[in-house]
Symmetry: C2
């Protein structure tokens, strides 16, 4: 979706006229009109000024999703695909969804299961809740054992590791964004 249509959409959503927004943003109404018609490609400085009148950040503006396509919404327990292996089962929620912002997983760690000594790290953030059993989680040199109801949340750039050191299965529901697999 082009910048003009995007701006018009968010402005409408905020219920402001071109002149109202122009005043709040410190630009002229003509500028906003021209941008919305894609007659010009604004400088990022002026676009930033315009968005500050809403207010909205550049990141939000460009991340902003337009078309909410109808999709499959419901998934039965037994139809989730396994992204992991036998030791660590990773069932992805919402398989049919195309442009996914979050990876939600039902995770199942067998006793002794371990993501390995070479720590994981990647873009984004992740968190989760322990449903049953216990799991040893290490994040950036800090290690904790979490039980049912306990949870975690951290930047995925920090090196991390999961180990089931107990003798019973451990189940977790986790989410990470953006999805990495």
């Amino acid at each position: 979706m082009d910048v003009g249509a995007r701006l018009r959409m968010v402005r409408d959503r905020f219920g402001l006229s071109q002149r109202e927004l122009a005043k709040r943003a410190g630009v002229t109404n003509g500028t906003i009109s021209l941008i919305e018609q894609n007659r010009v490609s604004p400088s990022v400085s002026s676009l930033k000024k315009v968005l500050e009148g809403l207010p909205m950040t550049l990141a939000e503006f460009f991340t902003f999703d337009v078309e909410p396509q109808q999709q499959r919404a419901f998934y039965q327990a037994d139809e989730l695909p396994n992204l992991g292996n036998e030791q660590i089962q990773l069932l992805l929620v919402g398989t049919a969804h195309e442009r996914r912002d979050i990876a939600i997983l039902r995770e199942r760690y067998e006793p002794g299961a371990d993501t390995g000594p070479d720590m994981l790290f990647h873009e984004g953030q992740e968190g989760g809740v322990v449903i049953t059993g216990e799991i040893e989680v290490t994040v950036n040199n800090e290690t904790r054992v979490l039980g049912p109801g306990d949870s975690y949340y951290f930047d995925s750039k920090l090196p991390h590791r999961f180990r089931n050191i107990g003798d019973s299965v451990c189940e977790i529901v986790s989410a990470s964004s953006p999805p990495t697999f």
Copy 2:
């Protein structure tokens, strides 16, 4: 962080010289030099062209995170704050986290609990897994009853509603991005 420094950083990260990037992007090296020095504020069209040479989207460019700050990572079951009420308990995972990408919730619906007949809708995507009990979920005119292990995932722009129509408590772990509260 300003646009110039951002561009220089991502260009360095891709290991390209100003001239190499300029050639791939279809602009001149002078343009990139001026942008990186913040001597000009590029038009979004030219910035877009530049980023396509990497390649990188505008959204990624402005979302781009610099400093992965160390934070609290672990949370005990009893210390999560409740964002809901008595009927619908919403426990937020990772309270201490500042710039949050995902809202992970332990949700608990009492029998009869209902998010209400006026459907919810907002930016982003959301999904979840039912842990115990049953819940009636409606997304965009489609209604389903989900039990333990069943899950859902949809665009939050689609109107949606949750109702516990059973006579036992229903527990869910959900995630939504971007967080909306």
